[in-house]
Symmetry: C2
Subunit: 447 residues, 2 copies
């Protein structure tokens, strides 16, 4: 965003330690850009610049920093500075930050909070990880349904100065009963004498604090809203989840699915931040486990080594057949997994989706088999051509079917369909592909 | 959301053709749920229910339907009904709908629009596909910077009744010069006598209409805003892009990356809607192209068939070595591709990222080599153990490096890094893996 000249200017000011000029320069910058500037500074200068920021700005900038940098910055601040910083963080940003700290450090920081903030934070921390409860902020503004719009707007003006967001106003009956979420726009557009209850649409879109955060992503994509109320079983409003946090969650969840899709345990932080040890730990166990499956392939080859020795031309086609099987299976599995995770398909659609893939697989198999038969003629005779063409067709149909079925089976047993990763599908399709190939080849050769 | 009892009740009412009761029942339902109900109805009843909906609701419900269903519904409506429907659609939803229609049908529908709507739509349609210009809505409310907050709120109240969103208000100087985007909240919270210019933060977050829509996704994740102004080179405000549309774009872009990641040309519609022909067309060419790469593997095997015949035990380890190479390469490529597409890494980070992967690859290679040597001893002697261990280590290091480098190379040459798909990486690592394996095996055997 910011043009390069401005960034270079800022860099020069840092080097020359002209702090107050720098403060003036970045005064109007959006917080994420100040966070970027901090990220690039040497540690010593970072703390100086951070201290120069106005209090509100510094808390917002802090929320945009990567967890590791947040920790390093905290080490350089005094207890009083830390207290001010953590108190000024919005409750949901605070949770995000506390989640990445070890338990002791969390306790130490919680002790710095004033009682009211402590209560909010403790309450949010009680919900399971990856739950909606962890995402919600209790900083919302609520009005009563029997008020007039003018009364409500007055209340919003008074309470809104401290709230994280007033883009949506929450309407209550009695003291705690949640009724509906109404956009601020409706209050502005309504006649001041109208009653708040006239603005209600009672569409009833809300979440439980125990719901998975993916549920919040699904709702916000589905209902095109900018925040969702979080309500307990007795219909008491506990907090609200805002679109900006859910946007980040959606991106994180997609990244996790990409990683699962190639047999990597999801990283805890960004790739940039991930340590070498973490990268190793999240990848090695899967590579090792998949060797187990690959060993089965080896065993199949060993069992048919007589056949291979007799017709070494058969080895020529192995990479072709197994490669295509793995690719086809990965295609089908990824299409189905992604459709399931974006609610484009659900469990009840299994027959339709598998039927579709069975058909597409047969056509793909026929087409690939035909192409491969030409290669068979080229390297051998019609026996070989027939053997590889039939094998190709059978392997493609089988791998495609397996790729389409496995995600549904995983989902049926309450497992994450994303575990149907390309490496797993490829490895399993190798084993079965070899069995199919050798079995068909032997049958055709003996014919 | 809606409980099952309500849905069953609605189904019964449809079957018994009790339309007015049904209309009453679904009166308070959110539009996406009415869209779902329509989706499940038989075609004949769909048009009846759709006609019963209030005009505003029917346009909103229409925007939530899948393109195919939109077309089928249009066929059942009269010209007048169609005109009303298309006119009532928000401009950005209308574009979304027109994009999926053949050119002739678009012209026919455009002719139905009143001149003002036609102008808006034509203007939006002029921007390239996947550009921000296609996403923006011109239905926003703008105020002048020299007005008082009270004047501005009055203007918002008058103009806001027709606008798609007033959650953010756009501040202009003179007649057309865009100054800043200010959330409605600021107007509500400010003193009525304050000047609009006092509310400005001039953070300067905006987009060009020609920018790629992914840029809008990046901005909204980065700046945590709910809409972004679209401004031309002369600083004239052309429209605004809202978070709900960008959310959908982000999901579509992630889906496209998942599909590219397994060598499938991105589908035009959802998986549920994709025809069998489309699925075949988007998958077959890639499978065929990859056979080209697999053929190289076959050629390598053919070239070394003498070695294989002499030591058939070598074939035993082929699936193990090639499988692990492909898996390692896919892991590295996907980690890097996803980090690049979420701005976690950018092109300038190539040295750091490749250095990281080189190190992780070496450790993974050493660990996997060690494990494989045990298998070598089990199936043969120390010659074999040494050959397979060295091959495993070399293949893992090489495949990992290739997986990490390829996305950066693609990006450097302005290609989509997501093309570095698992199937491509797996196939290329097969060829090179075989060369490495046979070369090392021969050297060790002759030793």
């Amino acid at each position: 965003m910011r043009n390069t000249a401005a960034i270079e200017h800022a860099d020069t000011l840092v080097q020359e330690e002209k702090w107050h000029e720098l403060r003036q320069l970045i005064g109007g910058w959006p917080e994420p850009e100040i966070a970027d500037l901090l990220f690039e500074l040497p540690a010593a200068k970072r703390a100086i610049l951070f201290r120069l920021l106005p209090h509100n700005t510094s808390s917002e900038v802090f929320a945009f920093l990567e967890p590791e940098l947040q920790n390093r910055l905290l080490e350089d601040l005094t207890v009083e500075e830390t207290r001010r910083l953590v108190t000024n963080l919005a409750p949901d940003d605070r949770i995000h930050f506390l989640e990445d700290l070890p338990g002791e450090a969390v306790q130490k920081l919680l002790n710095l909070l004033p009682p009211e903030e402590l209560w909010k934070t403790r309450q949010l921390l009680g919900y399971p990880e990856e739950s909606v409860g962890r995402l919600m902020t209790p900083d919302y503004v609520a009005v009563r349904s029997h008020w007039s719009v003018a009364e409500a707007l007055h209340h919003i003006r008074v309470k809104g100065q401290k709230a994280e967001t007033i883009a949506t106003i929450y309407v209550m009956e009695n003291r705690w009963q949640f009724v509906d979420a109404v956009p601020l726009e409706s209050f502005v557009l309504a006649h001041p004498d109208a009653r708040v209850e006239e603005l209600l649409t009672r569409e009833g879109v809300f979440l439980s604090p125990l719901a998975d955060r993916e549920e919040a992503v699904r709702m916000i994509t589905r209902y095109d809203v900018f925040s969702i109320p979080v309500v307990d079983a007795r219909n008491v409003l506990l907090g609200v989840v805002t679109a900006d946090d859910i946007f980040d969650v959606a991106e994180e969840e997609a990244t996790e699915d990409f990683q699962k899709g190639v047999a990597v345990t999801p990283l805890k932080s960004s790739y940039r931040e991930a340590s070498l040890l973490e990268l190793f730990n999240k990848r090695f166990p899967w590579l090792l486990a998949l060797i187990g499956v690959n060993l089965l392939s080896s065993t199949v080859i060993a069992a048919y080594s007589g056949l291979l020795e007799a017709a070494i031309a058969l080895t020529f086609f192995m990479p072709l057949l197994l490669g295509t099987g793995g690719n086809t299976g990965s295609q089908a599995a990824t299409l189905v997994v992604r459709a399931l995770s974006t609610d484009d398909l659900d469990l009840s659609d299994w027959m339709r989706a598998i039927g579709k893939e069975l058909f597409v697989g047969c056509v793909l198999g026929a087409a690939m088999g035909l192409c491969t038969s030409l290669l068979g003629f080229w390297r051998g005779d019609w026996h070989l051509a027939l053997a590889v063409a039939l094998s190709m067709a059978a392997i493609v149909v089988w791998a495609n079917l397996m790729g389409a079925v496995l995600p549904f089976v995983l989902m049926r047993f309450k497992m994450d369909p994303a575990v149907a990763s390309s490496p797993l599908i490829t490895s399993v399709s190798d084993v079965t592909g070899l069995v199919i190939y050798f079995w068909i080849a032997r049958a055709v050769m003996e014919f």
